[in-house]
């Protein structure tokens, strides 16, 4: 399953990228699985996604929780809590 990942704000800067295409290993079906997969990269990925830091995930441009099901071609965005207005 192929997904597009987008990073914003502090996460974009820390990860050093705004976007990546990712082919997910077999067995990753949910947002939770994807986040664990990213955190397993270690370093800043583990710091931001597996530690105390708070972040949000959007799936196909809608706020999503960890149980949300991924699909082929999904657009998944990971970002800090929003601070607009």
């Amino acid at each position: 399953m192929q997904v597009t990942l987008l990073y914003f704000a502090r996460l974009r800067e820390r990860f050093g990228m705004a976007e990546e295409q990712l082919s997910l290993p077999e067995g990753i079906q949910t947002v939770a699985g994807l986040i664990a997969h990213l955190a397993a990269r270690g370093d800043v990925w583990a710091e931001e996604l597996a530690g105390e830091r708070v972040y949000r995930v959007a799936l196909d441009q809608e706020m999503a929780d960890f149980s949300a099901q991924l699909h082929h071609g999904a657009e998944v965005a990971v970002f800090p809590p929003v601070t607009g207005g």
């Binding site: 441009q61 809608e62 929003v82």
Partner: protein, 175 residues
């Protein structure tokens, strides 16, 4: 959340925009209300970059957003307000890019027959915008830039609306 009164949404006009340019409140109000003689009340909220907000030597603010999702989120928030209050129109303009103290960041305009609906829906939209619309603020200081952290008070402000009991707005009031 309440069930959807189907009649209210189609009658409301929604306009959302994410832009670098400033906006003109009077012009936006005219656009929102043009041709609709049932509007008795229009409320607006304008958020400004302020100095106190900008601790010590902050010289500018930079706003990043998530193109595509932002517009959808703003429309969704306007629709949620229109389910709760009898609205004639909602206009939301959010600026992005570099902004300076005194600059406007966001405009929310709400038109209704009734003044209390127009006030409450506007406050509701701002509370939800602060927690649901994908914007991020960065402060620029002489020491370099830093991201603004989300505030717990914004999340509690948005959460309180889940408890608000929907009031009845009849035809007893004209603005």
């Amino acid at each position: 959340m309440e069930t959807l009164p189907q009649a209210t949404i189609p009658s409301a006009r929604f306009h959302v925009a994410v832009q670098a340019e400033d906006f003109d409140l009077q012009a936006e109000m005219r656009t929102l209300s043009a041709g609709d003689r049932g509007i008795g009340a229009i409320t607006s909220f304008v958020g400004l970059v302020r100095d106190l907000n900008l601790a010590d030597d902050v010289v500018a603010m930079e706003l990043e957003h998530y193109p595509g999702m932002t517009e959808k989120a703003l429309i969704r928030i306007a629709e949620e307000a229109a389910v709760r209050w009898p609205l004639h129109g909602v206009s939301i303009i959010h600026r992005v890019g570099k902004l300076y103290p005194g600059d406007a960041i966001v405009l929310v305009l709400v038109a209704s027959a009734h003044r209390h609906a127009a006030f409450e829906a506007n406050a509701f939209i701002m509370d939800f915008l602060k927690t649901r619309a994908p914007f991020w603020k960065k402060e620029w200081t002489p020491e370099g830039p830093r991201w603004v952290d989300a505030r717990e008070t914004d999340y509690s402000a948005a959460a309180r609306w889940h408890k608000v009991v929907s009031e009845q707005y009849g035809n007893d009031e004209h603005d």
